[in-house]
Symmetry: C2
Subunit: 110 residues, 2 copies
C-alpha cells in the first residue's frame, strides 16, 4: 500500500566545498599543469622567461595563468631585478592532498 521508495534515503553531504572547488579549478587547465609540473620538478625557482619560451602561449597569457596560480596559493613569486622567479608554494602538495582527502575520505568505520 505504501508508495514504493527507491531506497533508504541518503543525505547529501552538506559541507560546502567552495574552497576545494576553487583549488581544483586552478588545476583544470593543461598549461597551468605544465607550469606546476615544471616548478615541482625544478624544486627551485623558475624564471617567467622560461615559461614564455617553453609554452605555446603569448606572454600575457602566461602571465595570466601565473596570476591564477598565485591567487590559488599554489605558487609564490619574487622579483629580482628585471626578472620574476616563481616557485611552488611550500604547502601546495599538502593542500591538494588534503582537499582530495576531504572529499574522498572513507565512511567512518566506527
Amino acid at each position: 500500500m505504501s508508495i514504493q521508495r527507491c531506497c533508504p534515503p541518503t543525505s547529501v553531504v552538506s559541507a560546502d566545498f567552495e574552497s576545494e572547488g576553487t583549488l581544483f579549478k586552478a588545476l583544470g587547465d593543461s598549461h597551468r599543469l605544465s607550469i606546476l609540473a615544471t616548478l615541482a620538478r625544478a624544486e627551485d625557482e623558475v624564471c617567467v622567461c622560461d615559461f614564455t619560451a617553453g609554452l605555446p602561449l603569448n606572454q600575457p597569457t602566461v602571465s595570466h595563468h601565473l596570476k591564477l596560480l598565485r591567487e590559488a596559493g599554489l605558487v609564490t613569486c619574487e622579483r629580482r631585478g628585471t626578472w620574476v622567479y616563481y616557485r611552488l608554494a611550500p604547502d601546495a602538495r599538502e593542500r591538494l592532498g588534503a582537499s582530495l582527502h576531504a572529499i574522498f575520505k572513507e565512511k567512518s568505520l566506527a
Copy 2:
C-alpha cells in the same frame, strides 16, 4: 661583456596534461564535489532523487553534473526500474591520486 641571463635556463615540462586537466576540471565545481563526497561516504549506490532533494539545484542541473562526472569516469550508474543509482567509480580515488602524483612528483634524486 656577455648579456646577463636571468638564470640557467629551465626547460618547461613538455608532457601534455590534457587528460589530467580534464579530470581536475570535473572537480572544479563545489556541487560536483558534494556529489562525489556523498558517494564516497556512502560507499554504496545513491539514488538520483537524493541529489535532486539534497542539492540547491533543479533536476536538469543535477542531471547535467552527473553526466559530467560520468564522462570523466569518476562515477558509474545503473538503472533499476524507474530509478537510477550512482556510485563512485572503483578507481576514482586511484586515478585522482595518480594524476596529482604525475604533476607533483619530486625531481628524480638519482
